[in-house]
């Protein structure tokens, strides 16, 4: 068992003929991902990096049995692209596109959910399981195969942290970048149980940011359900609090959403809290050393 992707994952890249789509198709292939199809309306019959391009996801699925999608199409068309993937029977979609209106994402999320689908992102680096498959844009070089699960709201910071862990000689089972948008398809609470039940994961690294309360919700989940060790870091202690959502937003979060409340909640839930990104590899190494002694 693995988390979300494995060697059987067959990826269709929506927006494959765009710059990002093409670049990351190549990178996914180098990672070992089975990229079986691309979709760009009007470009059927062409190829990108040896991958056949189709006019629609339906055609792509019919011809290649794709079972996961990686979406690079521009924000104004991302909702349509996701609906197309869901309607074609794709149950896992990684939405890399940034700046998707959250109203669109609300529809994407609930529609996908009603059909049994799962979205990672939007505005996310995606998923990577070293040695098996990658769906998204996390740089290949940072990974090393191993038993640490990584769940992060950040992009580049995730690369930095995974790289740091790898430089300590410790590998990862699966890494998920959830994306930093107000509405994400998969949050900490959704991802934690996958890692908790994954026999290939021994410990979990959680990387959060200020804003929202998904880290607090994740902490509550950890407190109640997670038995594996958790190392957590929250970025943004020194940043000005965001003003998004104004007063009414403040009512929803009511004294949550700051670095302090998140760190306190995670700490109370039993997570080991890193104050800086570079402390994470050390904490992970200590736990791995203890686990190896057993």
């Amino acid at each position: 068992m693995t988390v979300l992707v494995d060697a059987q994952t067959r990826v269709v890249v929506q927006g494959i003929t765009g710059h990002q789509g093409t670049v990351h198709t190549r990178q996914m292939q180098l990672f070992g991902t089975q990229v079986v199809a691309g979709v760009t309306p009007g470009k059927a019959g062409t190829e990108v990096e040896g991958v056949p391009v189709f006019d629609s996801v339906r055609d792509a699925v019919a011809k290649t049995h794709a079972n996961a999608s990686c979406i690079f199409v521009p924000a104004p068309f991302a909702k349509d692209a996701l609906i197309e993937a869901v309607d074609a029977g794709i149950l896992l979609s990684v939405v890399v596109t940034e700046h998707i209106p959250f109203h669109d994402m609300l529809v994407m999320y609930h529609y996908s959910k009603s059909k049994g689908g799962r979205i990672i992102g939007p505005n996310c680096p995606g998923i990577a399981a070293p040695g098996l498959s990658k769906v998204g844009i996390i740089p290949n070089v940072v990974f090393r195969r191993g038993r640490v699960g990584v769940i992060s709201r950040s992009g580049t910071l995730t690369y930095e942290i995974v790289n740091g862990i790898s430089e300590h000689g410790i590998g990862q089972s699966t890494c998920i970048g959830l994306g930093g948008d107000p509405v994400v398809g998969t949050s900490f609470v959704d991802a934690l149980p996958m890692f908790e039940s994954d026999p290939d994961t021994d410990l979990i690294v959680l990387v959060g940011e200020i804003g929202g309360q998904s880290e607090e919700d994740g902490a509550e989940y950890i407190r109640q359900h997670v038995t594996k060790p958790v190392v957590a870091y929250i970025a943004g202690r020194a940043s000005p609090p965001g003003k998004r959502m104004g007063h009414a937003g403040a009512i929803i979060s009511r004294g949550r959403g700051t670095a302090e409340t998140k760190l306190a909640a995670l700490s109370a839930a039993g997570a080991q809290v890193a104050r800086f990104p570079y402390e994470i590899p050390d904490l992970v190494a200590q736990i791995v050393a203890r686990q190896n002694r057993r």
């Binding site: 940034e98 740089p139 919700d217 104004g246 800086f276």
Partner: protein, 377 residues
């Protein structure tokens, strides 16, 4: 985000059928007098500064008038005021109504539930954060079926409305919901929502449109909010740029890494002054532009912290070196770099050739940046 002035918010309210006091915008004292004289705005009336900040009542930005001359005087007193950093250029004149009670009603996004949420309180007219939690009702609404009858009844009950007033609430709820969804709002707020006789009237309007939906709303292209001029330039160039009160400029890529960089700088006694998030660019020109923008903010030193993923280190290095050439000698500042990841070696080499040293660890590079900026704050 696009914060709309009260009068613009009320234009939207009108489009969606929300009952409002009779009113009109004025930009001069003469206009204010004329509007009240010809009955466009019935007297007595209220004269309100059209600024985005709250607390206008206490701040002298709202006045009352019983005659056209009083309206002129009130307008003259408010126009040109500097209210919380904003200059008053527009007024909204509205008929003053006999208010029985003031309520609160808004709709915004609940990130956790991933649905819009209606928020209501019988205690309106004050900032909602100051209202006791028990006096606030939150009603999440699923975007597919939209606002359902039982949800409306819960809100009417929470507001203490029954009979004709509860029926009068219905169009407000429908309008708030429709406006929120169709206009891509991230907040629609009526505070106060006034009980006037058996009816209800929206006395204020706060509407914030989501930035990411701006491609659907060219009508707001002209509206600027509380960004500084440099932030405005950054926005046009698609660079995340925020000015703080410190002296060290921070350039990083990705919001998380940028925030982590600030955390580390602050920890070692540094004082970040500007932060600039390159995002996932791999265009050297954009790096050059970002860097020149940073130069205009006149930092004491700049700390460049890049982890190359989508962004390649050599791209950033090239853009940076180009930018340095364009900054005049006397405006230059010390630069401390840390570049890691994709094409790291090539990037370090390009920087070295231009005389910029790259320090590999975040801790040491941050300390070097603080030292370059003249030591701890």
């Amino acid at each position: 985000m696009v914060k709309l002035a009260e009068w613009r918010g009320k234009q939207l309210f009108r489009k969606y059928g929300v009952p409002l006091p009779k009113g009109h915008v004025a930009r001069t004292a003469d206009e204010a007098a004329a509007l009240t004289r010809d009955g466009t705005v019935p007297l007595p009336c209220v004269v309100k500064a059209q600024v985005l900040a709250g607390g206008r009542g206490k701040g002298g930005a709202v006045k009352f008038a019983n005659t056209p001359e009083e309206a002129r005087a009130a307008a003259a007193a408010i126009l040109g005021l500097e209210f919380k950093g904003e200059k008053v250029k527009e007024l909204l004149l509205e008929q003053k109504l006999p208010i029985a009670r003031e309520l609160y009603l808004s709709v915004t996004l609940d990130r956790t539930l991933r649905v819009p949420i209606l928020i209501a309180s019988a205690q309106g007219g004050m900032e909602i954060e100051t209202v006791d939690d028990a006096a606030i009702v939150r009603v999440p609404v699923h975007p597919f079926p939209g606002l359902a009858g039982y949800e409306k009844r819960r809100i009417a009950q929470a507001l203490g409305l029954a009979g004709p007033a509860a029926r009068a609430l219905d169009p407000f709820l429908v309008a708030l919901w429709e406006l929120f969804v169709r206009e891509d709002a991230e907040l629609v707020e009526i505070n106060p929502l006034a009980v006037v006789g058996d009816g209800l009237v929206a006395l204020d309007a706060k509407v914030i449109i989501e930035d990411d939906a701006s491609f659907r709303h060219p009508e707001y292209d002209e509206i600027h909010d509380d960004r500084t001029p440099l932030e405005e330039v950054a926005r046009e160039k698609g660079i995340a740029f925020v000015q703080l009160d410190g002296n060290i400029g921070v350039i990083a890529n990705g919001a998380g890494l940028t925030m982590a960089t600030l955390d580390v700088l602050k920890e070692f006694g540094g004082n970040p002054g500007v932060f600039l998030d390159l995002g996932g660019t791999d265009d050297p020109k954009k790096v050059t532009e970002a860097f020149l923008l940073m130069a205009r903010a006149k930092p004491t030193a700049v700390f460049l912290n890049i982890f190359g993923g989508v962004t390649r280190c050599d791209t950033v290095a090239k853009g940076l070196v180009e930018a340095m050439k364009e900054v005049p000698e006397r405006e230059r500042f010390p630069l401390v770099a840390r570049i890691r990841g994709n094409n790291e070696k090539e990037g370090i080499e390009i920087l070295r050739a231009a005389g910029i040293v790259s320090i590999p660890t975040l801790r040491e590079s941050a300390q070097a940046a603080i030292a370059a900026a003249g030591g701890k704050a």
